[in-house]
Amino acid sequence: MKLTDREQDGVIVLEPRGKIMGGPDATLLHDKLYEFIQAGKTRVIIDLSRIEWMNSTGLGILIQGYTTLRNSDGQLKLARVTDKIQSLLTITKLESVFDAYDTVEEAIASFN
């Protein structure tokens, strides 16, 4: 997995690419998320459009980020969720937990 990040209108946008299956790849997203939380940047969007697939490890990272940001008075939102990941969110009932948007712009606007 590769990961890029940018700040847009005061919101952090993380864009992971590839697969999230566990092990060293998975810690990359986890560590980056915590780097921003430590820096006080607690409005975060994860753009999932370039993730081929993720397993329960990926879902666990999303939940951990969601919970940690919420506990820091911040928020984690998802954007451009692929059909395969949406299917996993539905199966696991996590679609009821995450705010998800069709575009990154819509997700950014939702913070205001």
Binding site: K19, M21, G22, G23, N55, T67, I91, V97
Partner: protein, 138 residues
């Protein structure tokens, strides 16, 4: 110890650093079978869950124990088995992850996802290891 491929099987040491080796092998075999891309993803996700379980819970990350993944196909079905050399971890014992009280837990969804994505799941846990065999109708 490094990954060893023999025909339709791959054996890896019990470390997550070899997850990618298993994925490349499995997805390569599936595409060689001419499998639909959506089924490739479902099977690859399921195998990754089972290999993670085998490494972490079955073999408890002991590098001298192997995880062996074997794939086969007949006319309308793909079958994959994942075997560890642990002391009989039974992944079916985990709590239901979609109960409201478990929804925000970070772990415990692996076998639930496998059961959702695959058509058959059989678990054989003994004191010499656990073999999970999954099948998908194609």
């Amino acid at each position: 110890m490094k990954p060893v491929i023999k025909g339709n099987s791959i054996a890896i040491p019990s470390s997550q650093e070899f997850l990618t080796d298993v994925d490349v092998f499995i997805e390569g075999m599936l595409r060689g079978y001419g499998t639909d891309e959506s089924d490739v993803a479902d099977i690859a996700i399921s195998v990754s869950e089972l290999v993670n379980n085998a490494i972490l819970h079955g073999n408890e990350s002991s590098l001298d124990k192997a995880v062996t993944v074997t794939i086969s196909r007949n006319v309308d079905r793909i079958e994959v088995s994942v075997a560890d050399q642990g002391s009989g971890f039974d992944p079916s014992e985990v709590k239901n992850p979609i109960d409201n009280g478990n929804l925000l837990k970070e772990v415990g969804r692996g076998i639930f996802i496998v059961r959702s994505l695959m058509d058959e799941v059989a678990i054989n846990a003994t004191d010499r290891g656990t073999t999970v065999t999954v099948a998908k109708n194609i």
